[in-house]
């Protein structure tokens, strides 16, 4: 006979590991964010919510917050649309399907830093292939208007395959019978897509959105390599700002407060999606 409560014993090791690698750092960062802590000055004293109050009047922070939201909404929106399109196309049966699927996945398999470097050269005003192909002379990464959008294009290129992959998996588990009976009933393809494919795909779409939104909200390496946050902070996201404050200016208290904001936003996003999912 199994004893009651025996199961808890088995999860203790896993719980301890989780406690140590996720909960402890989180609590520590929160604790740091309540301090005025400067390594150089050997200052470390409790300051309550001072850091959080300063965030509200820090123009640079508000700018970074806006950049992050803009980046997340636009890039995830595009990735979902294109990803769905790819998934539907690749779903169809054609001879080279395997090869095409592998090719589509290539951008996602490349390390972000490598692809960001690659795109940096492609965006180059002088010898970049993008200006050459479009026959224009645009300073993509140097123009305050284009720079963030250029970063979005790169992110879309890189992570659409990921969305497509997840959606493809979702498409495969939709029972064939549903399509067959819909066709028997004389439904058009648009009608089938709206009434069968999309609703059946909804949970998978939400999972893809959850992953992508969280990732996009924390975007760091892609933009850091591409522009370093410039020109004039027009591409600086919250993660980049937090990194600069933490590791370049060594203000551990204030930097932790920014990091906490990122964490809270990501937390809200997760709760929002998970709620939608469980409905």
């Amino acid at each position: 006979m199994r004893q009651k409560g025996e199961g808890y014993g088995f999860i203790v090791p896993a719980a301890l590991v989780l406690l140590f690698v996720t909960i402890y750092p989180l609590v520590y960062v929160f604790w740091l964010s309540l301090h005025r802590k400067h390594l150089i000055f050997q200052i470390s004293r409790f300051s309550g919510l001072e850091n959080y109050l300063f965030l509200l009047q820090d123009e640079r922070f508000l700018r970074a917050l806006w950049n992050t939201i803009y980046f997340t909404v636009v890039s995830v929106g595009l990735e979902l649309t294109l990803g769905l399109l790819f998934a539907l196309v690749l779903q169809g049966a054609f001879a080279t399907r395997g090869v095409v699927r592998a090719l589509v996945l290539l951008p996602w398999a490349l390390p972000t830093v490598v692809s960001a470097r690659m795109w940096e050269w492609m965006y180059n005003t002088d010898f970049g292939i993008i200006n050459y192909l479009l026959g224009v002379d645009v300073n993509w990464l140097g123009s305050p208007f284009w720079a963030l959008n250029a970063a979005i294009v790169m992110d879309v290129w890189k992570t659409t395959p990921f969305v497509a992959l997840i959606l493809m998996a979702g498409l495969q588990v939709i029972p064939r019978e549903l399509y067959q009976s819909a066709m028997v009933d004389g439904a058009g393809s648009l009608y089938i897509f709206l009434r069968i494919t999309l609703p059946m795909l909804k949970p998978v779409i939400l999972v893809a959105l959850l992953f992508r939104t969280i990732d996009a909200f924390r975007v760091f390496d892609a933009i850091y390599v591409l522009t370093g946050g410039g020109p004039a902070n027009t591409t600086e996201t919250l993660s980049i700002y937090a990194y600069k404050v933490l590791f370049q200016t060594l203000q551990f208290g204030y930097g932790s407060a920014i990091a906490m904001v990122v964490f809270l936003c990501v937390g809200f996003i997760s709760v929002f999606y998970v709620r939608l999912l469980s409905r």
Binding site: L39, I43, G230, A232, N233, F247, Q248, L250
Partner: protein, 430 residues
């Protein structure tokens, strides 16, 4: 069964005792005769790892009992800074000797991470070093590092093009603009003047050179931070004009770093370039499209003012938490000695910070290019010297970037800089 448990306990306990005893023996031995190993952290060096290994092997031969392990950090300066900050804050003893960018020493010294080197680097020896790097390693009357090699901004120009149109090498910024425009009119597809304008540390280096060569700068005569000067406004406006009004600098400079400009100039598509000395050897290599066509000179100044280059370069210091400080000091002394600096200069092309080396017969013969830079180094100026520099530059970079791209007027950018830096500088008191 309690019996079994007890036996197991004894087994483990006796193993532990044995291990501790062995460890103690080993520790004792280390103290008396066994070699100690010190770890030397530095960025990637020219000439590959072999060249540095050779220099370190000689140190090991001359100092029996000390072994040196050199460990290369990632190429990006920001990552190196991050590595040091994280490890030194955690009081790491994993490395003993560290190489530091010219702007970090005061910060690390202020944080208490560096061992003062006053005794191993006596005042009479300091006199031989260029003023710039020497003041960069000094913090509140103490010396915390020894200059290893030096860098400064230079003007590269196309000798052949200037000769073809019989134009002189520009001495002032105004001349540079008119010379570039004259040649650009005749030669299609050439950029006039390229420099580094991406939002990063290199942009600050560039901007400072225009401010200084206009009689401005960020530190007032009273030693206080003062960005809001009309000279600074004019310097920033001139940089904006280079791109948008005179059109001698292409808009791409606002995203360019050293390597971007080096590639363009190196493929023969620009007349003038501001860059560090490293580019020279690459231009003079076999197969380079601009081999023999490149000239190097001091940066121009605004008419009536003195030219000034931004100081760069690396310094060696000792980790405050090092377990072998004496051995580490020995290594720093050795690596910054006359003979090693000479060797690094001859074999690897590094610019020595010791003035006397520029009179060295052998060096003059093998590296005439380096020797010619003496005046540039003598007058190279450090970026605002402050333990808060890393915080200040985080303010300068986006504001300068805004000024040269035209997002803000020079006055607006400088006013914003003044406000933010004052906030940083009062932090210590609050």
């Amino acid at each position: 069964m309690p019996h079994k448990t007890l036996r197991r306990f004894f087994a483990v306990a006796s193993m532990l005792v044995l291990a501790i005893a062995l460890f103690a023996c080993k520790a004792q031995k280390e103290g008396t005769q066994e070699a100690i190993t010190i770890v030397f952290k530095h960025g990637k060096l020219a000439g590959g790892p072999e060249a540095m290994r050779l220099i370190l092997s000689r140190f090991e031969a001359e100092n029996p009992g000390i072994k040196v392990k050199d460990e290369v950090l990632p190429a990006s300066t920001d990552e190196q800074h991050q590595f040091y900050v994280i490890n030194l804050e955690a009081r790491s003893q994993e490395f003993d000797v560290l190489s530091m960018d010219v702007i970090w020493v005061e910060e690390f010294a202020r944080a208490g991470w560096l061992r003062p080197l006053d005794e191993v680097f006596p005042p009479e020896e300091r006199r031989d070093f260029f003023h710039g790097p020497l003041s960069a390693v000094t913090y509140r009357d103490n010396v915390y590092a020894i200059p290893w090699y030096i860098d400064a901004g230079l003007l590269y120009y196309r000798k052949d093009l200037l000769e073809r149109y019989s134009l002189p090498v520009p001495r002032t910024w105004e001349e540079l603009v008119s010379t570039a425009r004259a040649i650009m009119k005749e030669e299609r597809g050439l950029y006039g003047f390229i420099w580094q304008g991406k939002q990063y540390e290199g942009l600050v280096c560039n901007v400072m050179e225009y401010m200084w060569s206009r009689g401005g700068g960020l530190i007032g005569e009273d030693g206080r931070f003062n960005a809001l000067k009309k000279e600074n406004v004019e310097a920033l406006r001139f940089m904006y004009d280079l791109i948008h009004t005179y059109r001698v600098s292409p808009p791409l400079v606002t995203t360019a770093v050293e390597e971007t400009t080096r590639h363009i100039f190196g493929s023969g598509r620009a007349i003038f370039m501001r860059n560090w000395p490293y580019a020279w050897n690459i231009f003079e290599r076999e197969g380079s499209p601009v081999k023999g066509k490149v000239g190097v000179t001091v940066l121009p100044a605004f008419s009536g003012y003195r030219s000034a280059s931004t100081l760069g370069g690396w310094q060696l210091g000792v980790n405050r938490y090092s377990k072998h400080p004496e051995a580490a000091e020995k290594l720093v002394r050795y690596l910054t000695s006359y003979r090693v600096q000479k060797e690094m200069s001859i074999k690897m092309g590094y610019r020595p910070p010791r003035r006397s080396l520029y009179r060295d017969e052998e060096l003059r013969k093998v590296q005439p290019f380096i020797v010619r830079l003496y005046d540039v180094f003598e007058h190279a100026r450090p970026r605002p010297e402050s333990p808060f520099y890393m915080m200040i530059t985080q303010v300068l970079q986006p504001e300068f970037s805004a000024a040269i791209t035209g997002l803000k007027s020079p006055e607006e950018a400088l006013r914003s800089i003044q406000r933010q830096v004052e906030h940083i500088l009062t932090m210590e008191e609050r």
